[in-house]
């Protein structure tokens, strides 16, 4: 009698644990994706509403409304970015971009990941932030600023934003808009695989541990994307670097490559 109770309890325990594991996998593969997609859509919708309802405030440099990026104080001129020392205020710290922590401030488009691929970019890289979209490393430069605009994203789970990260190739475009300006970044090399401790990749002139992988040799306006590698692991990171190639005012519409 007692043995029967033990066997039955053990069986029930095994079944319960099995169901729990299955539910957890469903949660990871399916539920987090659903939640992340709807959160990302909400963020993008909120941004677009905000952008259409008035001048963009709270950007990195343009505190005054109507400062559409042509100011002499560090916002890039429209058209080709200026050469070194052109518009960047000397001695500007790369920190203190003025983005609200946890809030989205830009939308990123990467055609390599699919025609419709777009994700909001939020300030900071906390786990709760990355559930809604991509996270901007708070200590790195702001969008389009001199220095390194660094962004992290999930490879797997939470909508798999950077699932196809290894397919990125030199010359691929990354479009980012803050509602005021479209920034076009161009990738310079294939994704670089490194260790999580390789924080030099976020420097304003990226300085990876592997010197041969150094993408740029002088200061400029750069973009860094980071995600994890392997897909379901966390032993390594994949890094992609891009340089700012062109900007255009949002009033002139989407870049040609994003037109439907």
């Amino acid at each position: 009698m007692a043995l029967r109770v033990v066997v039955r309890s053990l069986s029930e325990l095994c079944i319960t644990v099995g169901i729990l594991i299955v539910l957890f996998v469903v949660h990871l593969l399916y539920w987090t994706g659903l939640r992340a997609d709807s959160a990302a859509d909400d963020e993008i919708a909120r941004l677009q509403k905000q952008w259409s309802s008035g001048p963009v405030g709270g950007g990195p440099d343009d505190g005054e409304p109507g400062g559409t990026g042509a100011g002499p104080d560090g916002t890039p001129q429209h058209g080709r970015p200026q050469a070194e020392g052109g518009t960047g205020a000397p001695g500007r710290s790369t920190a203190g971009t003025g983005y609200r922590s946890g809030s989205s401030f830009a939308v990123m488009y990467i055609p390599r990941f699919g025609r419709g691929w777009s994700r909001p970019v939020l300030e900071n890289t906390r786990a709760t932030t990355l559930r809604k979209g991509l996270g901007h490393y708070s200590r790195t430069a702001g969008l389009g600023q001199r220095g390194n605009f660094a962004v992290a994203g999930h490879r797997r789970t939470y909508g798999d934003p950077f699932k196809d990260f290894p397919t990125l190739r030199p010359g691929d475009r990354v479009y980012v808009t803050d509602g005021d300006t479209w920034y076009t970044y161009t990738l310079t090399r294939r994704p670089y695989r490194t260790l999580p401790s390789d924080t030099g990749v976020l420097d304003s002139v990226p300085a990876p541990v592997n010197k041969a992988a150094t993408p740029f040799d002088r200061p400029g306006r750069y973009l860094t994307l980071t995600t994890c590698d392997p897909e379901w692991g966390s032993s390594h990171r994949l890094i992609a670097w891009a340089r700012l190639d062109a900007t255009r005012p949002a009033s002139e519409g989407k870049p040609d490559a994003l037109q439907d």
């Binding site: 990355l130 992290a152 924080t199 990171r237």
Partner: protein, 69 residues
Amino acid sequence: MYGWIWRHLPGNVYVRALISLVLVVGVVFLLFQYVFPWAEPLMPFNDVTVDGAAGRATGIAATVAGGTA
């Protein structure tokens, strides 16, 4: 365990089945809403940032460049 719960539910078979269903839905909701989001950062596929020692020391990245996969 399940037999014990079943025996202690009130009502006839249909009422018990209905209560069981509600209990199952409730448990799944609690899991998805609270337990799994808590457990998920403890899994390895959730570090996407480069953060050096600071992130690892706190378990889940939080400091200089906290993060996820």
